[in-house]
C-alpha cells in the first residue's frame, strides 16, 4: 500500500464539541504518483471513525449526497492531501474520552487507516 493516513486532533481536550478540529492527511509514500478519489475525504462522516471509551462507535450525521462523478486528484510521490474537519464532533456528544482515526475508503480494497488519536470532551 503506497498510501498512508495520519490524523491530528486539536485541542486534545475541550469543553464544547465544536472546538475540536481534526486534520486528516493522506500521504503517497510510494515512488510513483497515484490518482486518488478525494470524495471519501470530503466529509467527516466519511473520513473519520470515532469510538467512545468502551469501544462503541460514535455515529456521525450522514454525509452529503455523493457527486455524480468521483473527484479524482493526482498525488505525486511524497505528496499529501490534507482534509480539515472543524467541529466534526456532533453537538449532542456526551462528555468523555474518545478516540478517532482517519480512514480512506476507496474501492473494494482494505481501507487505509491512521493510528487512533484520543481526545477528551469535558463537561461545561
Amino acid at each position: 500500500m503506497t498510501l498512508a493516513a495520519s490524523l491530528t486532533i486539536d485541542p486534545s481536550e475541550a469543553n464544547t464539541a465544536e472546538r475540536f478540529v481534526a486534520i486528516c492527511r493522506l500521504i503517497n509514500r510510494g515512488d510513483e504518483g497515484v490518482s486518488v478519489n478525494v470524495a471519501p475525504l470530503s466529509s467527516p462522516s466519511l473520513a473519520l471513525e470515532i469510538r467512545d471509551i468502551s469501544g462503541s462507535p460514535v455515529l456521525l450525521p450522514p454525509p452529503p449526497v455523493p457527486p455524480a462523478t468521483a473527484p479524482i486528484e493526482r498525488l505525486d510521490a511524497g505528496q499529501e492531501r490534507v482534509a480539515e474537519f472543524a467541529g466534526f464532533l456532533p453537538s449532542w456528544t456526551e462528555p468523555g474520552v474518545y478516540r478517532a482515526r482517519c480512514r480512506y475508503v476507496s474501492g473494494p480494497d482494505e481501507p487505509t487507516f491512521s493510528d487512533w488519536v484520543s481526545f477528551r470532551l469535558t463537561s461545561r
Binding site: 464539541a17 465544536e18 478519489n37 470524495a39 471519501p40 470530503s42 466529509s43 467527516p44 462522516s45 466519511l46 473520513a47 468502551s54 462507535p57 455515529l59 456521525l60 450525521p61 450522514p62 454525509p63 452529503p64 449526497v65 455523493p66 457527486p67 455524480a68 468521483a70 474537519f85 472543524a86 467541529g87 466534526f88 456532533p90 453537538s91 449532542w92 480512514r103 480512506y104 475508503v105 476507496s106 474501492g107 473494494p108 482494505e110 481501507p111
Partner: protein, 385 residues
C-alpha cells in the same frame, strides 16, 4: 484469562442466506474451578455477538428483548471440563449487503463469561452472504392465482360510496355545529412542544467509487412544533447556532433557500371541526446565539448536517431535511434501494435541488400526532384533505 473458552462453528459459511444463518458457540470450562455463565442472557445475539463487515465496520444487530427474570440471575455453573452450547439463528438481517462478514462471541460481563478488562472472546468466523434471490417486491408473480377458498369480498355498487360520503359529511357538520353552539368549542387552540428524536440510517450497496458512503450514521432531529388552529398552521422551528464566519447575505440566502424548499408544499390532515382543510406545514430556521437545537459549523462546502458551506444554497436544504428527521434516499438506506444520488426526478433527500416528498415530513407528522393525541396524514398543499 477467562475460565471459559468459547469456540464458534457454523455448518455453512459460503453462500449463506442472511436471515437463515446459524452460528453456534460452545463454552468449555478449561479451568480447575467451576465457572458461571448466564446461558439465557448469552442467548441474546445483540449482547454477545460482534459482527463486522469486510471493512471492519460493526454491523448493528436488532436490540435485545427487555431483560426478564432469568436474564438477571447469576447463571448456571459449568464444572471443570464441562461444555454448553448456544445456537444463534437468524440474527443477521436479510437486508445486509452480500459479501464477507466476520462474527465472534464477545462477552465482557461476568454473566457472559468475561469482564471489561478481560472479555471472553472467540476466534473470528468468516461467512459470505449471498445476494438475495426470489421475486422483487411489488412485481406481480406470473401465474400466481388466489386459492379457491380465499375470501373475495363482494363489491358494493359504485354509486353507494358518494352517497355515503355526502351523508357522513353532513352528519359531521351537524356534530361540529352542536359542539360550537351548545358546548362553545372554538378554534383557538395553539399548542407547542419541543421534540428530540434520535435518527439512524445504514447506507449500503454504494457503487464503486462511493464505497466510503457505506456505513451507519446517527443524528438527532430536534425542533419545536406549534399547532396553530387560528391560522391553520403547523409551524416547525429549528434554532441553529452558527460557528464560523458568514455574512448576513449568505445567512439570508440559506434561510430563503431552505424555507422555499420546505414551506407551502404539504399540510397535515385529520378529521376535525377546526381546520378541516388541514394545517399548512411551515418551517422556520432561526439563527440564535444560545438555546440551539443544532450547531452548524460554517465552512467552504457542505459536508454533513453539522457543517454547511457558506455559499451553498442547494445541499443545505437537504441537510435541513435531516434536521426534520428525513432519511437519505440514495444507494440502499435501511434496506430500501433508491438507486444513484442526484437523480433528475429524485426528491430532495436524493437530489438536493428538487422539492421534498410527503414522507420527508413523517417525523413532523408523528410529532403532531403526539402533540394532539391524534393521527395525521400528510397531503399536498394543492389537494384537499
Amino acid at each position: 484469562m477467562p475460565q471459559l473458552e468459547a469456540e464458534v462453528r457454523s455448518e455453512r459459511r459460503e453462500d449463506v442466506v442472511a436471515g437463515e444463518f446459524v452460528f453456534s458457540v460452545t463454552f468449555t470450562n478449561s479451568s480447575a474451578e467451576p465457572a458461571r455463565l448466564n446461558v439465557h442472557q448469552a442467548s441474546h445475539p445483540a449482547l454477545v455477538l460482534d459482527v463486522r463487515d469486510r471493512n471492519d465496520r460493526p454491523v448493528l444487530l436488532p436490540p435485545p428483548s427487555a431483560p426478564d427474570k432469568e436474564d438477571l440471575e447469576e447463571g448456571q455453573i459449568i464444572r471443570p471440563g464441562e461444555s454448553v452450547s448456544i445456537d444463534y439463528v437468524g440474527f443477521l438481517d436479510r437486508s445486509l449487503a452480500p459479501g464477507e462478514y466476520r462474527i465472534r462471541y464477545f462477552g465482557e460481563f461476568p454473566a457472559l463469561g468475561g469482564s471489561k478488562e478481560d472479555p471472553l472472546r472467540s476466534e473470528w468466523l468468516t461467512v459470505t452472504l449471498r445476494p438475495e434471490r426470489g421475486f422483487v417486491p411489488g412485481i406481480e408473480i406470473p401465474g400466481f392465482k388466489p386459492a379457491p377458498d380465499d375470501h373475495l369480498p363482494r363489491r358494493k355498487p359504485p354509486w353507494l360510496r358518494p352517497i355515503f360520503i355526502f351523508i357522513w359529511n353532513w352528519l359531521w357538520r351537524l356534530w361540529c355545529w352542536i359542539l360550537r353552539l351548545l358546548f362553545g368549542r372554538r378554534c383557538d387552540d395553539v399548542r407547542s412542544q419541543e421534540f428530540d428524536q434520535a435518527r439512524t440510517e445504514t447506507i449500503s450497496n454504494a457503487p464503486p467509487g462511493s464505497e466510503a458512503w457505506n456505513g451507519t450514521y446517527g443524528w438527532r432531529a430536534r425542533f419545536v412544533l406549534t399547532l396553530d388552529e387560528p391560522n391553520c398552521r403547523a409551524r416547525v422551528v429549528i434554532r441553529v447556532r452558527l460557528v464560523g464566519s458568514i455574512t448576513a447575505a449568505q445567512r439570508s440566502a440559506w434561510e430563503s433557500a431552505i424555507e422555499a424548499a420546505w414551506n407551502s408544499r404539504f399540510k397535515l390532515c385529520r378529521r376535525s371541526c377546526c381546520c378541516s382543510d388541514g394545517l399548512q406545514i411551515a418551517t422556520d430556521i432561526q439563527f440564535v446565539s444560545s438555546g440551539e437545537h443544532q450547531v452548524v459549523n460554517v465552512g467552504s462546502t457542505t459536508t454533513n448536517m453539522g457543517n454547511w458551506g457558506a455559499s451553498d444554497t442547494v445541499d443545505v436544504s437537504h441537510e435541513f431535511g435531516h434536521m426534520l428527521g428525513a432519511l437519505d434516499e440514495y444507494f440502499t438506506v435501511n434496506g430500501v434501494n433508491w438507486g444513484a444520488g442526484r437523480q433528475a426526478t429524485g426528491a430532495i433527500m436524493n437530489n438536493p435541488a428538487n422539492p421534498p416528498a410527503a414522507r420527508h415530513y413523517d417525523t413532523v407528522r408523528q410529532a403532531a400526532g403526539t402533540l394532539r393525541s391524534a393521527t395525521y396524514s400528510t397531503t399536498a398543499q394543492s389537494s384537499s384533505c
